[in-house]
C-alpha cells in the first residue's frame, strides 16, 4: 500500500498503460476473449520479487492481458534484501507486500512456520511437478532454476565436469560465484553443498583456496563469465542460456555430482487485503500461459505441457540434488556463515 500517488508518475503510467493496452488488443485477440470468465474487482497488489526487473515487468504485462483490472506494483531486490525488508516491516507496522515470489522454498518454509502465509493451492495444481508444490499448501514453485557451472568458450576449451574439479589449482583466480548474503539461490546452494556427502565443508574449503571472486548476485556472475573477466562461474542456468542466445561465448556444464535447484516459489502473505487479486496472480504464474512465458524467459517450467527453453536439457537428463528441505532450512543460516568465514574474510 504505497502512498506514491503523485500526478507525474500517474500520468506517465497512464500513457504507458494506454500504449500497452493498444498493443495487446491488436496482437492477441485470443487473450482478450478470456477475461470475461475471471474478471475481478479492480485492485492493487504489491509484489516483492527477486526476478530480474525486465522479466518481472514482462510478467506483470502478461498478467494484465488477462486481468487488466489488477494493478501490480513490483518491488525488486535480491532474496536476502527482500527477507530483511519483510523483517523490518513486520516490526514497523506490517508487511507491505501481498505476494512474495523469490528464490528458495526454505525461506517460504520459515514464513509458513511463523504463520505469515495464506494457505492457497492454485487452480490447475494437478498439472504441476509435485516436487515444487508445498504439501501444506502455503506456497508453490513456479520455475526450476538449477545452479550449474558456466564457462567462457573462448578461454576454456575443456569444460569442468564436476564440482570437485573446480578445486583443481588450474582454476585458481578463474572462478566467480554469487554472494549468499544477497542471492537466495546462493544461500540455498551453500546449505545443499555442505549437506552433501560427496562435497561438504572439505570441498568448500578447497574451493575457497582457489580464491573465487564473489559477485553480488547471479547477474554479474554470468556477465563476468561471458566477457571472460572470470572464465568459470557458478551460476543459475537460465542466465547462461540467454547470453549464449545473444551470441556471447558462454556454455553450461551440468556437474556429475548433481545440481542444486531452487523453484522460485510464490506465496501470499496472510494479512493481505487483496486475497482474490493475489490468488489470481498466483494462478497465472503456474497456468499454461504463465508457464509458456517462463519458458520464453529461458526458465525450466514446473509443468510438462509447455515445452522447455531452446538449448535446455529436460529434467530427466540431468542429475538433481534434492536434499531434505527441513534440513536445509535449519542449516541455511549456519551454511551462509560458514561460506562467509571461508570466502569473505
Amino acid at each position: 500500500m504505497s502512498r506514491m500517488r503523485s500526478t507525474v508518475p500517474l500520468a506517465l503510467l497512464g500513457v504507458a498503460a494506454i500504449a500497452l493496452a493498444g498493443c495487446s488488443s491488436s496482437t492477441s485477440p485470443a487473450a482478450t476473449a478470456e477475461p470475461a470468465a475471471g474478471a475481478l474487482e479492480p485492485a492493487t497488489i504489491t509484489l516483492y520479487t527477486s526476478e530480474p526487473q525486465e522479466k518481472a515487468d514482462e510478467l506483470v504485462a502478461a498478467f494484465n492481458e488477462i486481468h487488466p483490472e489488477i494493478t501490480v506494483e513490483v518491488f525488486r531486490a535480491g532474496t536476502g534484501d527482500l527477507t530483511t525488508r519483510v523483517a523490518t516491516e513486520r516490526e514497523s507496522g506490517g508487511i507491505q507486500a501481498d505476494v512474495f515470489l523469490a528464490a528458495d522454498a526454505g525461506t517460504f518454509e520459515g514464513y509458513a512456520a511463523e504463520g505469515l502465509l495464506l494457505e492457497y493451492t492454485p487452480a490447475d495444481v494437478e498439472a504441476l511437478n509435485a516436487d515444487v508444490v508445498d504439501a501444506e499448501g502455503f506456497y508453490t514453485g513456479t520455475r526450476i532454476i538449477p545452479t550449474v557451472i558456466a564457462y567462457n568458450t573462448g578461454i576454456i576449451t575443456e569444460a569442468p565436469e564436476s564440482w570437485q574439479e573446480l578445486t583443481d589449482a588450474a582454476y585458481a583466480d578463474q572462478i566467480v560465484m554469487p554472494n549468499p548474503d544477497v542471492s537466495g539461490a546462493a544461500a540455498y546452494n551453500a546449505a545443499v553443498w555442505l549437506d552433501d556427502e560427496q562435497l561438504g565443508e572439505e570441498w568448500m574449503t578447497a574451493l575457497a583456496e582457489n580464491r573465487p571472486v564473489i559477485a553480488d548476485s547471479n547477474g554479474p556472475v554470468s556477465q563476468a563469465v561471458a566477457t571472460g573477466a572470470q572464465p568459470v562461474g557458478i551460476v543459475v542456468d537460465y542466465l547462461v542460456r540467454e547470453l549464449a542466445e545473444q551470441g556471447s561465448p558462454i556454455a553450461v556444464s551440468y556437474p556429475s555430482e548433481g545440481v542444486p535447484y531452487v523453484s522460485q516459489p510464490v506465496g501470499i502473505f496472510a494479512d493481505t487485503e487483496q486475497a482474490e487479486a493475489a490468488q489470481a496472480f498466483v494462478d497465472f504464474l503456474v497456468s499454461e500461459e504463465g508457464q509458456k512465458l517462463a519458458v520464453e524467459q529461458s526458465y525450466l517450467p514446473v509443468r510438462s505441457d509447455v515445452g522447455t527453453p531452446e538449448g535446455a536439457p529436460s529434467m530427466d537428463e540431468i542429475t538433481i540434488l534434492s536434499p531434505d528441505l527441513e534440513t536445509i532450512r535449519s542449516t541455511q543460516d549456519a551454511a551462509v556463515e560458514t561460506f562467509r568465514s571461508l570466502f569473505l574474510r
Binding site: 504507458a16 536476502g80 547477474g219 569473505l344
Partner: protein, 555 residues
C-alpha cells in the same frame, strides 16, 4: 567559499531594533524558520545521536569489519582529496595564469566530471579499464595478463579523484582571482623569473583555498556510495558507506539501525573534525583586496605546446572516453563479443528506454527533484534573507544551523531519517526521500542567496523603512525580491543534483518509489549492464547539455 560573512554591517537597523523590542513579523518569521530547521536538521541528527548513544554499540565499532571499512574510507577519502587538490590546483593555475592554448574550451571540459553523477562515471570507467575492457583484452592477448583492472582500492581512489578535482579547481580559481598580480610583478621587478614568481608568491597565498577544498572534498568522498560500491566491492574493498548499505539491506547484523547509527556518528565526528581543522588552518590566512588589474599571464615559452598537448590529452581522456565507453557498452549486442560493426545494435537502448521500472524511476526522480527544488528554494531564500539582513543571535545561529548539512555525509542524513521514519509515519513512502533531499540541499540555496545579498548595501531597505514600511515588509519587498534570482539559480542546482542522486535514495527507497539513480544501480547489480549503460549515457548527456546551456548564459 572560504569565508562567507553572515552578517552585514547594518548597524543603523540594529540600533533601532534594540531600542524598540516589540515582537513583529520578522521575529515570527525567524521563529518559523527555526522550527523548520529544527525539524529538518536538528531533529534527525538528534535522533541519530540518541540511537547511537543508547545501548552499547562501542563493541560494534571495534568489530573487524567496521575497523577495516573505516580505515578504507579514511584512506580513500584522504588520498583522493589530496590528488584532487593537486590536479585541481594545477589545472586552475595553468588555465588562469598561463598562456595555455585553448583555455576556454579546456576549462569547460575540465569541469564536466562534476556534472556527471559519480556512479554513472563508475559504470562508464568499467568500460575503459574494467577487466574485460578492449585495452585489457588486447593486453591479455599479447602479454597473457590484463594490464590494470579498475576494481579495488586504486580504482576507487582514481574515480573519486576524477569526480572531485573540479571542486578544487573552482575554489582555487576563485581564490586566484582575488590575489592581485601586483605582488607577482613586484617579485618580477626584484629579479624573479615568471615561473618563480608564480610558485613562490601566488601559490603560497592559495593555502586557505587549498585547505578548504581539501576538507570539502574529503568529507564528500568519505560518504560516496556509488563508486566504492560498483568499483570497490568486487575486490572486497569495503568502505563505511557500502558497509552501512550492506548492514541495512541484508540483515547480516542484529539491530542494524543502531549499529548503522553508531557508524553514522563516527562519520559525523570525522566530518566535524575536518571542519575544525579547516577553521584553524584556513582562517589564519591572508585577507586580500580583490584587484581590478587584469592578471598578467605567465608565458609558458618552449613548454607551451608540450604542456598544452598533455593537458588536452588528460582532459579528453577523463571526459570524452567515458562517454565513448558507455556508448560502446550500450550498443554491443552481447557481452563478450568482439567490437565489430555487425555486433552493434540499438536493441538495448530501445529496450532500456521502454522499461517500465526505469521510466517510473525517472518520473519519481523528476517529481521528487522538482518538489525538493521548490521547497529548498523557498526555505533557502527565507533563511538567506533573514541571515543576511537581520541582526541578533537567533538569525545568526539559524544561518549556522542551516549550513551544517553541507558538512554531513549524505549517508548519515539518510540513516538519520531512516531512524525517524516509522515514528513519523514516513516509512515506505517516497516523502522520506523528499525530506532527506530538503535536509541535504537547502544549504545550497542559502549559500547562493546569503553571500551575494550580504555584499549588497542595505540602502534600499533603509529607504523603504524611512518611507514607512515595517521590518517584514522591507525584507519581503526589497531583500527577498533582490535575492530571488539567486534563489532560483540555487533551486535549479538542487533540482539537477537531486534528479540523478543515488546515495540518499538507495537507502530510503520503498516499493513503488524507486528513483532513477536506484533504477540504474539495480540494473548494474542485476547484471543488465547494457541497460545500465544506456540509462547512464542518457543521464550523462542530458545532464551535460542542461548544465552546459545554463552556464553558458551566465558566464
Amino acid at each position: 567559499m572560504t569565508s562567507t560573512p553572515l552578517l552585514p554591517a547594518g548597524s543603523a537597523i540594529r540600533a533601532r531594533g534594540a531600542v524598540r523590542r516589540r515582537t513583529d513579523g520578522v521575529d515570527a518569521l525567524v521563529v518559523a524558520l527555526w522550527l523548520a530547521c529544527g525539524g529538518l536538521i536538528l531533529l534527525p541528527i538528534g535522533a541519530l545521536l540518541v540511537l547511537a548513544g543508547r545501548g552499547d554499540q562501542l563493541g560494534v565499532l571495534l568489530h573487524g569489519d567496521v575497523l577495516q571499512a573505516g580505515a578504507n574510507s579514511l584512506f580513500s577519502a584522504t588520498v583522493s582529496a589530496l590528488a584532487a587538490v593537486v590536479i585541481g590546483t594545477t589545472f586552475a593555475v595553468l588555465l588562469d595564469r598561463t598562456d595555455l592554448p585553448g583555455r576556454t574550451v579546456l576549462r569547460l571540459l575540465a569541469l564536466s566530471p562534476l556534472l556527471m553523477p559519480p556512479f554513472v562515471g563508475a559504470i562508464a570507467w568499467l568500460g575503459i579499464a574494467g577487466p574485460t575492457s578492449p585495452l585489457n583484452l588486447w593486453w591479455r592477448g599479447t602479454f597473457g595478463a590484463p594490464l590494470w583492472s579498475i576494481y579495488g582500492a586504486d580504482g576507487v581512489i582514481l574515480l573519486l579523484t576524477i569526480h572531485s578535482y573540479p571542486i578544487a579547481m573552482l575554489i582555487v580559481s576563485a581564490a586566484l582571482r582575488r590575489i592581485p598580480t601586483d605582488l607577482e610583478q613586484a617579485a618580477r621587478i626584484s629579479g624573479a623569473g615568471p615561473a618563480r614568481a608564480l610558485t613562490s608568491v601566488t601559490v603560497p597565498l592559495l593555502r586557505p583555498a587549498l585547505v578548504s577544498s581539501f576538507v570539502l572534498i574529503a568529507v564528500g568522498n568519505l560518504a560516496d556510495f556509488g563508486i566504492p560500491s560498483i568499483i570497490g566491492l568486487p575486490e572486497r574493498f569495503v568502505t563505511l558507506a557500502t558497509l552501512v548499505y550492506r548492514y541495512l539491506q541484508s540483515g547480516t547484523v542484529d539491530d542494524p539501525l543502531a549499529v548503522v547509527a553508531t557508524i553514522g556518528v563516527v562519520l559525523l565526528v570525522l566530518a566535524l573534525l575536518a571542519l575544525v581543522a579547516d577553521g584553524l588552518l584556513a582562517r589564519r590566512g591572508w585577507e586580500l583586496d580583490s584587484s581590478n588589474a587584469v592578471p598578467e599571464r605567465t608565458p609558458l615559452g618552449h613548454a607551451r605546446v608540450g604542456v598544452g598537448a598533455m593537458m588536452w590529452a588528460v582532459v579528453l581522456l577523463i571526459t570524452v572516453l567515458p562517454l565513448l565507453a558507455l556508448l560502446t557498452q550500450t550498443l554491443l549486442r552481447a557481452p563478450g563479443v568482439p567490437l565489430t560493426w555487425e555486433n552493434l545494435t540499438l536493441d538495448h537502448l530501445v529496450r532500456a528506454v521502454t522499461t517500465p521500472s526505469a521510466l517510473a524511476g525517472a518520473a519519481n526522480s523528476t517529481m521528487l527533484a522538482s518538489l525538493a527544488a521548490v521547497i529548498c528554494g523557498i526555505l533557502g531564500l527565507a533563511i538567506g534573507v533573514v541571515v543576511a539582513r537581520t541582526s541578533g543571535r537567533a538569525p545568526r545561529a539559524l544561518g549556522a544551523v542551516a549550513m551544517v548539512p553541507q558538512a554531513i555525509p549524505g549517508i548519515v542524513i539518510a540513516v538519520a531519517w531512516l531512524i525517524l521514519a516509522p515514528s513519523l509515519g514516513l516509512f515506505n513512502t517516497p516523502w522520506l526521500i523528499l525530506v532527506a533531499y530538503v535536509t541535504s540541499f537547502t544549504a545550497l540555496v542559502v549559500q547562493a542567496v546569503a553571500a551575494p545579498l550580504s555584499a549588497t548595501p542595505t540602502s534600499a531597505e533603509e529607504a523603504a523603512r524611512v518611507a514607512g514600511a515595517g521590518r517584514l515588509r522591507a525584507l519581503v519587498d526589497i531583500s527577498a525580491r533582490m535575492a530571488t534570482p539567486a534563489a532560483v539559480a540555487g533551486a535549479v542546482i538542487v533540482a539537477v543534483t537531486a534528479v540523478r542522486e543515488l546515495t540518499l535514495s538507495v537507502l530510503l527507497l520503498s516499493p513503488g518509489s524507486q528513483t532513477l539513480g536506484v533504477a540504474i544501480f539495480n540494473f548494474q547489480q542485476a547484471g543488465a549492464f547494457s541497460t545500465a549503460s544506456a540509462w547512464s549515457l542518457i543521464v550523462a548527456l542530458v545532464g551535460l547539455a542542461v548544465i552546459g546551456l545554463a552556464t553558458r548564459r551566465t558566464s
